[in-house]
Amino acid sequence: MSDKKLAIIATKGTLDWAYPPFILASTAAALGYETQIFFTFYGLQLLKKNLKLEVSPLGNPGMPMPMAMDKWFPVIGTAIPGMQAIMTMMMKQKMKAKGVASVEDLREMCLEAEVKMIACQMTVDLFDMDSSEFIDGIDYAGATTFFEFAGDSDVNLFV
């Protein structure tokens, strides 16, 4: 129907921030947008075969905590070892209970809908990552390749 285009730059590698690029890309694809996501820096974590994404309460005053912990729990307490693992587990349980898709599922739906995913080659080199760590069907390229598509897009998002 539509021949619109959406270009997204994904720069964050945490469980919570994995959602915006994949939700927007899969939805846009369902609406008929041709969609590309360029993954750079920590965003590359979202392309790993085995996703080990976590969410951190550290330095995140906007994050609602269970049992109103954010009201009485000292900020420094969010730095306690194991806190991140606990918060990640609770977040995943909550998402499942509320019928929110997993990041893996959303990524799969993006791939099925032919959302093109590009890994930033420079960051892959910078962090000594290997293409065998990443899912199949992605491209490796640089900023110029992103602009080839983005310059022609109707919507450009930096996440």
Partner: protein
């Protein structure tokens, strides 16, 4: 209530799954077929309206009954 070709129950699913799965179900239908969708996501009321406006499919009916949302979409 309009007649429908296929039913998809998206109960319990949250945004954007009702739309994504319904779109998938629509892909398997022919032009003129009607997909009946049930959802419990209150956000899907506006979303199915917006989905149809943007994709050219026709939203024949959108209603709420017994805490669930019902949509009939005719494929273009």
């Amino acid at each position: 209530m309009p007649e429908f070709t296929e039913k998809y129950d998206a109960s319990g699913l949250n945004c954007p799954l009702p739309i994504l799965r319904s779109k998938k179900a629509l892909n398997g239908l022919d032009s003129g077929d009607v997909l009946y969708i049930v959802s419990t996501d209150s956000g899907s009321v506006k979303d199915f309206d917006a989905f149809c406006k943007q994709t050219g499919n026709e939203l024949l009916e959108s209603s709420e009954a017994e805490g669930k949302f019902h949509f009939y979409i005719k494929k273009n």
